[in-house]
Symmetry: C2
């Protein structure tokens, strides 16, 4: 008899759905895997007004009407309280901070986080979440996350009631730091930072599919991320940072940073949690702690997965997925 | 008046000239930069017989008759004393050791260096040089060179009179290790390990042009390599490890490891030595210490360079050169 697994339909608290022609495909793909997503705002132009938030939500829903869509807006300037209220009304639950030049479409990022403290103060007042791409751009690539922690510390002291998410946590230093901070500071964990190290990018031939920011780092860093997740620490929940790039952008000349994990994220996670004998913790990680942190109801709909081998295609929606060409043990039914 | 610099025509004690149709172009390009090269044997099939050594030398000379060609052969098996004598007669001055799977065409490498100790003993007896690709393949990518040092230490103890070159030294640990070993152990230094760190490969967008083995590492590692060179330590001499790959292999899909530096190596070095106020040490580094170590006469022919800006083409001989598209200050006349 085929083995099956039933889960609460997962949430993805960090996803890139892109825009234009691609958006429809990526949104539909995401809706096959997740019941609810938090869409990141680094489109061109960025999501940074009440109108843009509304329009982006409508575009996503037009492609994937059953997907519950939570929005973010980009902190590339200061906002008035009225603008923030209007963005909240239009579906935004969080503001996303990108340091200048740190990843895809962050050339309009902020060079000094203190410059937007007036807006961050309003986020705290209105109980909006602050999502951080926590890397210090000027530092050596493997030190950028650790070097950013001083900013996180200062934010926590200055805005003690602000809910903060350190996105895509990737280093042992940051994991330990988040653990020690109060409960209003959490971290998202991607699938790829649970399973990759720098070896998977530059250890053998160059592997552009696995290239992303923050970089997967040393084995000890991966171990720390895994320990946080497999110990069931509720400060660490799923945000895939699934970030599709076309085959051309990913592998020819451009070397764009980002891993397209949405279509394979949950099957990979089931396998990882199963290997760790922690399947009992999976549901909270993918559909519990994140909703609790965002103060939204946990979902009730279920998703079912079958233990059935399948090979990940070389491209999905024209983008190279994580573990392209490899075989997975679990499949969404 | 234009500034000029006259140097002894440089030696390159580590170069990949490839084979077949490409060889002629790469050999001609090399002859424009160097008076003498030590050609590496990782062709397919490899250079691993007296006949192969003779044929490879003839092929290189057919394309570049004025180039002085020194040969290596691949340590992918044990050799008889007669074979070694015949290879020496045909132009080989060194044997090259590749650990299994560590870089381009090393799938026939040795998994246990002790397996070829009988041949290494003969190298010592015949005063042939042992060139090491010093990386432990199983280790984490940034630790591979350091993890290899135990093998180097054992080789030195077992074969105290053997001349050994740790090729393309890339880590502070290995630099310090080589410094402390006797004078019969030296290291080649590439141009790219003098100027790159991991940041230049994965720090911003992925930069396949700079991807190579051993990986450029942390700033402290680059600093150690530079210190060894700019202090005029005679154990450290130029071997570019110039390794051309086609644009397609380098940037699309394959992600081949190797930096094509031969056409730009000397102009870059002049600039680097000039910036360090060490131009007086350049000639020994590029045309002195290596010849001394290999017990061959220093060259006497001169090469002249002019201080004249030029832009490095996007490809040279169909391969992407180091610093493609960037502007250099010095140019060979």
């Amino acid at each position: 008899m085929q083995q099956e697994l039933s889960l609460i339909l997962p949430d993805d608290f960090h996803i890139h759905l892109r825009q234009g022609r691609d958006l429809a495909n990526y949104a539909k793909s995401a809706a096959l895997q997740f019941g609810r997503v938090l869409a990141m705002p680094n489109t061109e132009p960025p999501i940074n007004s009440p109108e843009a938030v509304k329009k982006y939500k409508e575009e996503i829903l037009a492609a994937a009407p059953n997907l519950e869509v939570l929005l973010t807006f980009k902190l590339n300037k200061n906002y008035t309280e009225q603008e923030l209220l209007d963005m909240k009304k239009n579906g935004a639950v969080a503001a996303k901070y990108y340091p200048l030049g740190v990843t895809t479409n962050s050339q309009d990022g902020i060079s000094k986080i203190e410059d937007i403290y007036p807006t961050i103060e309003l986020l705290e007042k209105l109980d909006l979440v602050l999502c951080l791409h926590g890397e210090e751009p000027e530092a050596f690539c493997l030190d950028r996350e650790r070097e950013f922690l001083k900013h996180l510390e200062k934010l926590c002291k200055t805005f003690p009631n602000l809910r903060i998410v350190l996105e895509h946590v990737s280093s042992a230093d940051a994991v330990e730091f988040v653990k020690k901070l109060p409960q209003n500071v959490a971290a998202t964990v991607t699938v790829h930072h649970l399973i990759l190290t720098l070896n998977d990018i530059v250890g053998d031939s160059l592997c552009p599919q696995n290239f992303c920011k923050p970089l997967p780092k040393f084995p000890k860093d991966k171990a720390a991320v895994r320990e946080a997740v497999f110990s069931g620490n509720k400060k660490f929940f799923l945000g895939t940072d699934s970030a599709p790039h076309s085959l051309e952008k990913k592998e020819c000349l451009c070397g764009a940073a980002g891993v397209y994990s949405a279509p394979v994220a949950i099957p990979i996670l089931i396998e990882e949690f199963e290997n760790e004998n922690k399947l009992n913790l999976l549901s909270d990680f993918v559909a519990g702690y994140g909703a609790d942190f965002y103060k939204i109801p946990r979902q009730t709909k279920k998703a079912t997965y079958a233990k059935e081998e399948w090979q990940i295609p070389k491209t999905i929606d024209g983008a190279v997925p994580l573990r392209a060409g490899q075989t997975l043990k679990w499949k969404a039914k």
